[in-house]
Subunit: 177 residues, 2 copies
């Protein structure tokens, strides 16, 4: 069966600071019509940064949408036209105050393909040297360090539930053996 859906019309709803929303009428494979809600997002990166003792950098920050502090790997949005490797170096510097000499591609991830147009590029960063955090004016986060094995256990047990963190940690663990 041909699965494609064809755009018939588009209604622009919102164009904001991070996301854009439009609602499309589409033609379905059977010729009938339906509605698709599309949230556009610039995409971003996520970095598993390991120090020389195999400890991972974690950021704790208030996630307003979930009304709680969450523990995640460092991450951030791509700026317009920015290559993901550049975003990754920038975010590691801004959030952790670290630079890495060795970068390994951990692939891309689509957080929620139904409505949300975000794609994340995942990286493993090693060979760290340290400076200071350089946070955005509206960004508040604390950095912790945790042994990779302990972090992997927290991902498997469900204590850490952020998708990008679980995916990057379990992929890196398989890679590093």
């Amino acid at each position: 069966m041909e699965l494609m859906e064809r755009t018939l019309s588009r209604r622009e709803i919102y164009d904001g600071r991070v996301v854009r929303l439009h609602v499309d009428e589409v033609a379905l494979p059977n010729g009938k019509t339906s509605v698709r809600e599309v949230i556009e997002h610039p995409g971003g990166v996520c970095i598993l940064a390991l120090d020389d003792e195999n400890r991972a950098a974690l950021v704790r920050q208030y996630r307003y949408v979930f009304s709680r502090v969450m523990t995640e790997l460092p991450a951030g949005k791509r700026e317009a036209g920015e290559a993901p490797e550049v975003t990754a170096r920038r975010e590691l510097w801004e959030e952790v105050g670290a630079r890495a000499s060795e970068w390994t591609d951990l692939g891309t991830m689509i957080p929620s393909p139904g409505c949300y147009g975000e794609t994340l590029y995942l990286y493993l960063a090693r060979g760290l040297t340290f400076g200071e955090q350089h946070l955005d004016p509206d960004e508040f986060l604390n950095v912790d360090w945790m042994p990779l094995e302990e972090l992997a256990e927290k991902c498997l047990s469900g204590q850490i539930r952020d998708a990008k963190t679980v995916v990057a940690v379990l992929k890196a663990r398989a890679l590093l053996g």
Copy 2:
């Protein structure tokens, strides 16, 4: 440092079929203000269903937001007030036409905590018996079966990029050994 952000005002933008969008002015930890874009989503479930030969059910469907067919585990949105275990049984029946006698909790996952309020409940389903698909009128998807080890390799190699699929498969693989 106290990381909490406090709501000052809210602007409702959109209330649609799947998502709702509101934009809030918030007080930051340093007393300044910023804007948070919040997409509310009913949340859902994702099911790793294994048959007696350890093959996993996969669904291939057109993902309009990404303009392509994607391969994912069966999944679906929670209806209002529905317990996630009930959603999981319903979605496995609708998408795959299967019932399972053995359900194992694989924990919850937050796909994208920055702006997107979706939480997913992940399950492993075994002891399958089969009937027919019962799709929604605007749902078109094909079901494939793939050995779990092959599926795990595709998650690790990056051929499969859907977050819920990667997380459920790698968690189940660690659980099953």
